[in-house]
């Protein structure tokens, strides 16, 4: 697969603070690459360096195998942090301006406005837009030149649940077209739902990098309930049980490796207990993430 982005030893100091420390990674074509990390872990600084607005202290990066220049940025659609537009210009005019900067045709404007459902408000000034509309306009602007790479930094920040769902659908739609997407977020659920690969940053250091599927491998957790009084004791007797917790009225059974939910089900059945609730849960990225962060402490 073609390497879209390659980073080697990228470092940024702000005075005495080391915001990004020696990050190296590669993003291949077609990946939806998640960047995770708590607030202030260096996600935006890293993306800022990749987009030429922050001068790296040391290290290098290349887009499409070539050293970076401003021409290559025209082929990338990027929204860093919050949407930035001229407040006194209408959505339409802002996009026309962006098209001029990116040297692409203005014909695409109505398409992207349609995609983010802003066509009705295109002639209103940007400052009259709601936060969700601003976010959507930013995505429209990033899609304007039909980029092969899309960088989205917290695209669902400050959106209501419906807006979040809309943006998530949009990202999936875009990813389905084979575009490479780099998505920075601290909403893990979001990354798990759309990403194929992810990297975890912590205080500027890269602490994990790999495919999302790997994260959900390993031990399973099974949520169980049955109308039996001593269910907890019964569950502890199961040879595959690592631990049992009671949460939200259900028992969360963490299984040892090599044991699956169906093994537990069979065991309960053999004990003459019929579960009225049994859900096998894959390890969420959230758990994985918290594990990774606590491991590095």
């Amino acid at each position: 697969m073609e390497t879209v982005l390659s980073i080697k030893g990228l470092t940024k100091n702000f005075g005495r603070l080391r915001a990004v420390n020696n990050i190296s990674l590669e993003v291949k074509a077609g990946q939806v690459f998640g960047m995770l990390g708590p607030n202030g872990s260096g996600k935006t600084t890293t993306l800022g360096m990749l987009m030429g607005v922050i001068n790296p202290t040391s290290g290098e990066y290349s887009w499409f195998g070539r050293p970076p220049d401003h021409e290559v940025r025209k082929k990338i659609g990027a929204v860093l942090e919050h949407p930035i537009f001229y407040p006194y210009l209408s959505g339409q005019k802002n996009l026309e301006l962006n098209a001029k900067i990116k040297e692409c045709s203005t014909q695409n404007i109505s398409n992207v406005l349609e995609l983010v459902e802003l066509k009705d408000r295109r002639d209103d000034k940007y400052k009259t837009y709601s936060l969700g509309m601003k976010q959507r306009l930013a995505i429209a602007s990033a899609l304007l030149n039909e980029p092969t790479v899309l960088i989205l930094d917290e695209p669902t920040n400050g959106l209501d649940p419906m807006g979040i769902a809309e943006i998530r659908e949009l990202i999936k739609k875009i990813a389905a077209n084979g575009k490479t997407i780099i998505l920075a977020s601290h909403l893990l659920d979001e990354v798990q739902k759309v990403c194929t690969h992810f990297v975890v940053l912590k205080r500027g250091n890269m602490v994990h990098c790999g495919p999302v599927n790997d994260a959900s491998k390993g031990s399973e957790t099974v949520e169980v309930n049955a109308e039996v009084e001593n269910l907890s004791e019964v569950l502890m007797k199961f040879s595959g049980t690592e631990s049992v917790n009671r949460e939200n009225g259900f028992f969360q059974v963490t299984l040892r490796d090599d044991f699956r939910g169906k093994d537990l089900n069979k065991f309960l059945f053999d004990q003459g207990i019929i579960a009225n609730h049994l859900v096998t849960k894959k390890k969420s990225l959230e758990k994985m993430f918290l594990e990774i962060l606590s491991e590095t402490n």
Binding site: G48, A78, F85, Y86, P87, S90, K100
Partner: protein, 267 residues
């Protein structure tokens, strides 16, 4: 190049403040330059002695070729309005953080700066054309007998005036990039003459030869005060090549400093 100019003009043309400031600029220049004779008449009527000592009709304020230098010198005072427009244009980019997005979208830092420099160039050119037209019209109105030999002499003050405006706007742009806040930058811009005057007054006794190299001094020296000729008969009626060289040097330096600052900063 045209592409970059278009980008910056697109930002400005939909910006109401731009039209208000430019409108004010062209109106104040237009009215103040065109009403010089009316002002002299008012002086003559108000102060009895003024009229008897000086026959105002014999002051050839608007006669060719005097009109060229007179109007150019007077219009120079209003460049501060254009300077404020330049400051607003660049500091807006910092306030809205659009400078960051422009770079992300694919302008290089130099291209961004160059789009602003080109706008400065265009504003200076517009000012020159405006003053030229006013001078031409008033010249034809007030000159009693048109002598075509005189109509188009002394025009070298127009390129000098252009340099004066452009250097000043370059200075305003640099201040905006260094300070990044519109209010503070405008105050500094307005104070720059005064601050320079204080420094000049202090070194006047020790290094008088240094004074011509000061930036504000050098752009003022491009177009000399013309009114002495009505009292002493003799004035500098040419553009001093030394002051052109110094002002040009400053224009280049101001824009170069802007570039250095922009190149090094994290946006």
């Amino acid at each position: 190049m045209l592409h970059l100019l278009q980008i910056d003009l697109k930002k400005l043309f939909s910006y109401r403040t731009f039209w208000i400031v430019c409108g004010l600029y062209f109106l104040t220049i237009g009215f103040s330059t065109a009403s010089g004779m009316e002002f002299l008449k008012w002086l003559a009527n108000t102060f009895d002695k003024f009229g008897s000592e000086l026959n105002i009709n014999r002051i050839p304020l608007y006669h060719f070729p005097d009109v060229w230098l007179n109007l150019v010198w007077w219009s120079g005072f209003f460049k501060v309005l254009l300077g404020i427009m330049t400051v607003i244009s660049i500091t807006n980019e910092y306030t809205y953080r659009t400078i960051r997005q422009n770079i992300i979208d694919g302008l290089s830092r130099w291209e961004f700066l160059f789009s602003k420099i080109l706008t400065n160039f265009l504003l200076s050119l517009a000012s020159v054309v405006l003053v030229f037209i006013i001078a031409l019209v008033t010249g034809f109105i007030y000159t009693p007998e048109i002598n075509w030999n005189y109509v188009f002499t002394d025009l070298e003050f127009y390129p000098a005036y252009f340099l004066e405006i452009f250097t000043f706007l370059s200075f305003a742009l640099m201040l905006g990039i260094l300070v990044q806040r519109s209010g503070l930058t405008i105050i500094l811009l307005l104070l720059s003459y005064m601050l320079e005057a204080i420094v000049k007054a202090n070194i006047d006794d020790y290094f008088p030869w240094l004074i011509q190299f000061f930036p504000m001094e050098s752009i003022s020296a491009l177009v000399p005060l013309p009114f002495y000729r009505y009292a002493f008969q003799e004035i500098q009626d040419y553009v001093d090549p030394a002051s052109v060289a110094i002002a040009l040097g400053w224009a280049v330096l101001f824009n170069y400093f802007s570039y250095l600052k922009l190149k090094r900063s994290d946006l």
